[in-house]
């Protein structure tokens, strides 16, 4: 094969690739009209819920696309205030310094925070005070709360996390989480870490509970959506969608959808609905 053949072949390949790319992108948004993209970012707690709501909302219409990304509640709040995304997601209330950013708050659900451990953990119940002392580093061995003789490994979220902020507000109440806690940047990462460590303990959103981890009962109350709904489970926080100013157009339609019967039915699967 000489140079001429090589040049011919490579230009043919390039033309083919370009043609395929054009065809694929041309097929999307095929109604010929405007496709509005709504961008959402923020809390990893809200992320799976937002993705499900988005899928359901866009399933029956082709004029809207919704992209959802994570980053943590603080990122969501900052991004919404700066206008980099259309909707910010947060799993905690706004702090006083964030109230002046001009954000409109829409509460679409309430969510419990589960204290989780490895499925092989013998201890099944903890008091709120024991949870606080474990995360503060005062209780360091599972034997002190009725388990096996092993050092407790504390896993936590980074400081910008809404789940961490809500946990600190409702459980730690001013006491700092121990400096030796291993920090991970999302609910999913914490769940994976604890699922692999027989002596681990951490806190994640109810929405992330699955068979790979076990949730403690707090003060005798099991970690279920029912108990979050009837307010017997003590660690529950609001799930917020934030917009800069009042929402308009497709963004407003989506938020109304989330607060409507179909959206709230989706919420009710793992979270506490607000209607």
């Amino acid at each position: 094969m000489n140079i001429r053949h090589l040049v011919k072949l490579s230009s043919l390949m390039t033309a083919l690739v370009l043609a395929v790319a054009l065809a694929v992108t041309g097929c999307a948004g095929g109604n010929g009209g405007q496709v509005t993209t709504i961008t959402m970012a923020g809390s990893t707690t809200v992320q799976p819920l937002a993705e499900e709501l988005a899928n359901n909302f866009t399933a029956t219409r082709s004029d809207v696309q919704i992209t959802v990304s994570g980053g943590g509640s603080s990122v969501g709040i900052q991004a919404a205030a700066a206008g980099t995304v259309d909707i910010g997601m947060a799993s905690r209330d706004l702090k006083p310094e964030e109230e002046t950013l001009g954000l409109v708050v829409h509460v679409i659900a309430r969510d419990g925070i589960a204290i989780i451990s490895h499925p092989s953990q013998n201890v099944t119940n903890l008091t709120k005070d024991e949870v606080k002392l474990i995360f503060a580093g005062n209780i360091t061995n599972w034997a002190e709360v009725g388990g096996a003789d092993a050092t407790i490994t504390v896993y936590a979220r980074e400081e910008g996390s809404g789940t961490r902020a809500a946990f600190e507000e409702m459980v730690m109440k001013g006491t700092a989480i121990t400096a030796s806690a291993l920090l991970f940047p999302s609910n999913g990462a914490l769940r994976t870490a604890v699922a692999g460590d027989p002596n681990g303990i951490s806190f994640i959103s109810f929405g992330y509970l699955d068979d790979s981890v076990k949730a403690f009962a707090i003060d005798g109350v099991a970690a279920t959506v029912e108990n979050a709904k009837n307010a017997t489970y003590p660690i529950v926080r609001p799930i917020l969608l934030l917009t800069k100013g009042e929402p308009t157009g497709k963004v407003q339609e989506f938020i109304s959808f989330c607060l409507g019967p179909v959206g709230q039915a989706i919420v009710a699967k793992h979270y506490v609905p607000v209607i």
């Binding site: 980074e158 910008g160 400096a179 030796s180 920090l183 991970f184 940047p185 692999g196 681990g200």
Partner: protein
């Protein structure tokens, strides 16, 4: 006339290209210094560099833990990578037959191409549970050192191999002619002659180790405590920036830029040592 014109134009074009790269470096330096100097002013250089507590929520900005963490992880990775790397370089330069050499070189080059997040993933899924058996939570300096070793190895191997090959053939021939065995020649003649190149490779590997971020935050635990043993978790300078920059504001953000300044200065020093070391090597060989 046009020949001289093209000559001139080509010279300017090449100069412009070099200037662009230099400008990028300058821009980065200006950017991080602008972002980080307020932190140095407000926190004080001494308190910042030697403070043992990092709790931005309570206004404490001491990065000593992260400096110790970075140093520990770098030292650990070099401890593992230098013997292995030099041994592999000797193999590639002196011992291996042609086919084995080609195969090994390809394998080493492949190591360079693997993205760091993949190293982190493998470390998280394979290394961490294994190290947990030895004690501690598994996320540890040891895990980070092993992962970094794999990333630093190609640098050390390729530059050391080139240095060993660059030793004049007359040295090797003289040693063999005097009755030395192959290994004696390698150990007592070739390696000492290639010393400055090998040192340069180690120093460059050190630079790569200090700058590694993604793999570090996946296997080292990111806890703000001093590592008391290879099995304890800690945090590196790079991990500190990566974990917190997305939500930091105000003085906290400036402190993270200041961490960037510390890293920048560190890399400058390390690279300068490498360049000086390489230059010295050139002189030694010309003296022969």
């Amino acid at each position: 006339m046009s020949r001289y014109l093209t000559d001139r134009l080509a010279r300017y074009a090449v100069f412009a290209g070099a200037a662009v790269s230099f400008l990028v470096l300058l821009a980065i330096a200006v950017f991080i210094f602008r972002g980080g100097l307020p932190a140095f002013k407000e926190i004080g250089i001494f308190d910042f560099l030697f403070g043992a507590v990092w709790r931005p929520g309570q206004g404490q900005y001491g990065i000593l833990v992260m400096i110790v963490g970075s140093v520990a992880v770098t030292a650990g990775s070099l401890l593992l990578a230098v013997p292995l790397g030099i041994a592999c370089a000797i193999l590639l330069a002196e011992v291996a037959p042609f086919g084995v050499r080609q195969f090994l070189r390809q394998a080493v080059e492949l190591l360079v191409g693997i993205p760091s997040v993949v190293y982190g993933l493998v470390g998280m899924v394979l290394l961490v549970p294994a190290i947990r058996q030895l004690g501690g939570p598994g996320y540890s300096v040891l895990a980070a050192s092993i992962v970094l070793m794999a990333m630093v190895l190609p640098t050390i191997i390729s530059i050391s191999e080139d240095s060993i090959r660059a030793v004049p053939a007359s040295y090797k021939e003289a040693a063999l002619a005097l009755g030395a065995t192959h290994w004696q020649t390698i150990w007592r003649v070739l390696l000492p002659s290639a010393r400055s190149g090998i040192i340069a490779s180690v120093v460059l590997g050190m630079g790569r180790a200090v700058g590694e971020t993604m793999a570090m935050i996946m296997v080292i635990g990111n806890s703000i405590t001093f590592p008391t043993s290879p099995l304890s978790p800690t945090r590196t300078l790079t991990g500190n920036i990566a974990v917190e920059i997305t939500y930091a504001g105000g003085l906290h953000r400036s402190a993270l830029f200041a961490t960037g300044i510390v890293l920048f200065v560190l890399i400058l020093i390390i690279n300068s040592i490498a360049v000086i070391s390489l230059k010295r090597g050139g002189h030694a060989q010309n003296l022969a």
